[in-house]
């Protein structure tokens, strides 16, 4: 009945743990948000104060859970319809979000799980702890997932989420965004981030976006409108690539992979 549960445990060994030179590239922590970012107030009491202790990756960091396609439902990646009772689907501007999951060497990360969640077109989440006065859309749940293909490509169909206010400063608003959770091929690549929309003036006012140290880092989370790919009379396309940590390789490994 639940084949996925057994199959998800099939191990991937990207690069192999026992090859000399293997292991993930060190994470550039100065490129990521610091733990303590006082403008984002919740970080003040939730940020470790001591430096993390480094160690080289071992088998446990170089392997990770694997998810197989047979468990996914046909509508898992279609947020317009996967919760809707109405055949018309969710309310809001219809978009397709597509892109690739890559590693730092630019190689596609195949068959990896991408999970997304977002507010509805009015900026309201379907969640017990959410109290924004904007209404729920009875036809929108807000969750989706898919696996990348062999080239690392993924695609979701959804509606453009609305911006929403949040309790931080007296008048802080989140820009429209979609949350992304990505596994990659190993535990050490695990990443959660957010996608923003090109041209949104709220991006540069947001304390959570502002935790990212550099404008280049912020720009790398802004999806571009791709009018050429847009489906006429249906949905606009936004392109968003996600980069996960790469891993050291030997020349031998490069040849093995045909590079």
């Amino acid at each position: 009945m639940n084949a996925f549960k057994q199959k998800q445990a099939v191990l991937q060994t990207p690069g192999g743990h026992d090859r000399p030179g293997g292991g993930l590239y060190a994470r550039d922590r100065s490129w990521h948000p610091a733990a303590l970012t006082p403008a984002y107030k919740t970080s003040v009491t939730r940020s470790p104060t001591r430096a993390p202790i480094s160690f080289p990756t071992t088998l446990g960091e170089e392997t990770g859970p694997v998810f197989t396609r047979d468990r996914l439902g046909p509508l898992d990646a279609d947020l317009v319809h996967n919760f809707a009772r109405s055949p018309d689907g969710a309310i809001g501007p219809r978009i397709v979000v597509q892109g690739r999951v890559l590693d730092e060497d630019g190689r596609g990360v195949p068959h990896t799980l991408v999970e997304v969640w977002q507010a509805n077109a009015g900026g309201r989440y379907r969640h017990k702890k959410e109290g924004y006065l904007a209404p729920l859309d009875p036809d929108f749940g807000g969750c989706g997932r898919c696996l990348t293909d062999e080239a690392g490509r993924y695609e979701f169909r959804t509606i453009q989420p609305g911006p929403y206010p949040w309790p931080n400063g007296p008048n802080d608003w989140r820009p429209a965004h979609i949350h992304f959770s990505v596994f990659g091929q190993s535990w050490g690549q695990r990443l959660i981030t957010q996608m923003y929309f090109d041209g949104d003036p709220m991006i540069w006012r947001c304390p959570i976006v502002g935790t990212i140290p550099s404008p280049e880092g912020i720009e790398s989370l802004v999806a571009r409108l791709d009018m050429e790919a847009t489906i006429p009379m249906d949905a606009r396309v936004y392109r968003f690539d996600i980069v996960l940590r790469g891993r050291r390789q030997t020349l031998f490994e490069n040849r093995m992979e045909g590079l």
Partner: protein, 200 residues
Amino acid sequence: MQRIARLKESPSQTAGPYVHIGMLPNFAGIDGVFDEDLGARMIVGEAKGERITIRGRVFDGVGAALKDVLLEVWQADAQGLFPSQEGADPAFTGWGRQAADMDTGEFAFETVKPGPVPFRDGRLMAPHVSLWIVARGINLGLQTRIYFADEDEANASDPILSRIEHRDRIPTLLAEPKGDGTYRFDIRLQGENETIFFDF
């Protein structure tokens, strides 16, 4: 000079308070989209080894338990094998995902006690579970390890624990046996007894 063309990792952003919608939708009350929340069960048959439950809470700098935190674990099976390694236990997934209880902040993983796994140089590491913590206010997922307080000998020769200079911090990585196969592992994000977090 030539440039080395390498991409930068996508910057992390907080999982936020509504992480459950995407990662545990059934837990969040969004029924009928996915049949079961991923990672809910790590034991999927007659798993070998000692069944254990790891319980705990995550505390912030003022001593309050986080009620919106989400945790994932990744570990070897009872023989020290990760899932697709030759001979690994097919009844054990190695991966779990749990949210803290929204009222109490308590989380629990029902799993098996992992066997030892080799370090890079072949020395054995003590039995441990890798733990990843995300929540509102956490900008980059926190990585730590759960070791077991009743594995004195293995812990003493563990290559990772051995490199920790501040020996008095090591107990922050030890789950305490409470009987009945239950271990207690509380995490402190700040303050006295701040948990050791890792960068690898």
